[in-house]
Amino acid sequence: MEQATEAVVQPKKALKKDKTLNIGYWKKYGVFYLMMAPALIVLIINNYIPMVGSIIAFKKITYESRSFLENFINGKWVGFDNFDYLFKTSDAWRITRNTVVYNAVFIALNVIVGVAIALMFNQMRNKRLAKFHQSVMFLPFFLSWIIIAYLVYAFLNPQLGMMNKEILPLFGAGEVEWYSDPKWWTIILPIVNVWKNIGYYVVFYLAAIIGIDKEYYEAATIDGASKWRQIRSITLPLIRPVIIVLTLLQIGKIFYADFGLFFQVTRNAGMLYDTTLVIDTYVYQGFLVTGNLGLSSAAGFYQAIVGFVIIIIANLIVRRVSKDDALF
């Protein structure tokens, strides 16, 4: 009996203490919740409701009511029907292959070209000139994909473009129908991507190289190590963490294509789809142009889930390499 009363009294005491603490807490920290409210609302609208909404991939929507929300809620659950349909088409394999292979090529080029250029910048005797070239190289990064589409078009326009009118005749080659011949785009897209983005990656690699203590090189020079040897044995090992982290971060997004590159630069030409259609453009095309809600939402869901798994794995590896650089 005594024990029981004690048990009843104790929580009461704790509650009282909690309450006074609470008043002080809200007085001090309450304003924090107000400060976070706007971003929280945006995140809910922009991210969290669509996340829940992605279950639309498991529904069949019929347009009975004028309210979309009603149609959504009344939509029949169809399980994996949309996915069955998607993976029966040849598109599923094609868009997955294009997305992953292009991204893999881009990632490799970003590392190889990026590190090579950063090394060369670091070796240049005239530092001001190096700065100048770095600035120019950074320019394409600031251009929108629309502008890049214009620039590419100026070269590839079949009737008037530089390639067919000037450059190919120089080599005695015949004209190419660039916007209807898919085979060239496996080369064009990596070139355009490197051209636009390499300045961005060079920033990180150069910062890492400049951060290396000069004494290593002095000692190596005294020991008679050649420049190549120094790069191989000092520079590359010391910037290895940066290389690994930047690369793994890109690998984390390997299932997401750059919509602008694949949509604008190719001018979304249907005849090129064999080598240019990626998951992102497929979802856009299927949903907003063809109007196939089931198929495109299934493709989007497939991308979200696989993408999520890949980024988690990539991050786990980053954590093992360099804990400070892991995303979480």
């Binding site: 000139l129 502008i147 070269f155």
Partner: protein
């Protein structure tokens, strides 16, 4: 004097040979040219005579110099000027709101004494890892919120970007001394006063970097327009350029204006190829002029933004 001379000697010993240096220089001059030449090509075509272009193709140097294309844009100036207006509005207002919203979210989760910082960090962070995809995103804004053709839909999606919130939070945690916050508290300043009076003024570098990146994001955005803006909606400069590349008639404010031009000048034919390139030059202008100034801060921002979880 002696130390400077000897330092120079050491530098010289460390530097690469003159011939390799020469080769590297050549490489970079070529690469830099490749970065600029495509833009010069657009410029050349935009100042060319339309007929010559149609016969001989695009040329770096106009065979026959002409400002016809720009005349055409000036004559029907409304669409271009309007588009600039929309782009500037979205960029300026959007960036101000976005930086305000993101820094207000970043501050509480940067405070180690705030007991819910973990959960709110996670809510923000999870959006980097997972997203619902294009279909529900589109349906949310267009069908549930009914925001088609609304300038707000071009701004809201960039208001709370998790990556930038992370960058700002990291800066708050590493660069604002806790003692400063504590002494403000002792002086009787509330949390809001501390945030606006002490934290924000000390954080100008990171706010500038995030602001620049956001500005660039807004100015160069066309994807949101592609999704949510119909033919009658507000066209930003990027979206106008996109449509002009598809179909030159989009440069005209409307078909009646276009037919009036034709009526006024019987022999008039649209300088479509050159006008298109002139449009691109008009669109790219601000970036070309602004970028030499801000790319420095940009680089600083990128290297500072080493993010930690």
């Amino acid at each position: 004097m002696a130390t400077i001379a000897s330092k120079k000697k050491v530098d010289d010993a460390l530097a690469i040979s003159r011939s390799s240096n020469f080769a590297i220089n050549i490489f970079f001059w070529i690469y830099s040219a490749l970065c600029i030449i495509p833009i010069l090509l657009l410029l050349g075509v935009s100042f060319s005579d339309e007929k010559q272009v149609l016969i001989n193709g695009y040329k770096f140097w106009p065979e026959k110099f002409s400002v016809e294309a720009y005349n055409f844009l000036v004559k029907d100036w409304r669409p271009v000027v309007e588009s600039y207006g929309y782009s500037i509005f979205v960029t300026v207002i959007g960036t101000i709101i976005a930086v305000a919203i993101m820094s207000m979210y970043a501050y509480p989760i940067s405070r180690r004494d705030f007991k819910h910082r973990g959960i709110f960090s996670f809510i923000m962070f999870f959006t980097i890892l997972f997203n619902g995809g294009l279909v529900p995103f589109y349906l949310m804004y267009s069908n549930i919120l009914g925001m088609k053709d609304n300038l707000l839909v071009l701004m809201i999606p960039l208001f709370a970007q998790a990556f930038f919130i992370l960058v700002i939070r990291t800066f708050f945690m590493n660069s604002i001394p806790t003692e400063l916050l504590e002494s403000a508290k002792i002086d009787g300043a509330g949390e809001l006063r501390t945030f606006f009076g002490i934290v924000l003024p000390l954080s100008l570098p990171v706010l500038a970097s995030v602001g620049l990146l956001t500005t660039l994001g807004y100015w160069n955005d066309w994807f949101l327009s592609l999704l949510f803006i119909t033919d009658d909606g507000p066209h930003t400069i990027q979206f106008r350029m996109y449509e002009a590349l598809l179909d030159i008639q989009y440069l005209s404010s409307n078909s009646t204006a276009y037919s009036e031009i034709i009526k006024a000048n019987p022999g008039f034919s649209m300088p479509s190829e050159t006008a298109r390139m002139a449009m691109a030059i008009v669109g790219v202008g601000p970036i070309i002029f602004a970028y030499p100034f801000f790319q420095r801060y940009f680089i600083a921002g990128l290297t500072v933004g080493a993010v930690k979880g």
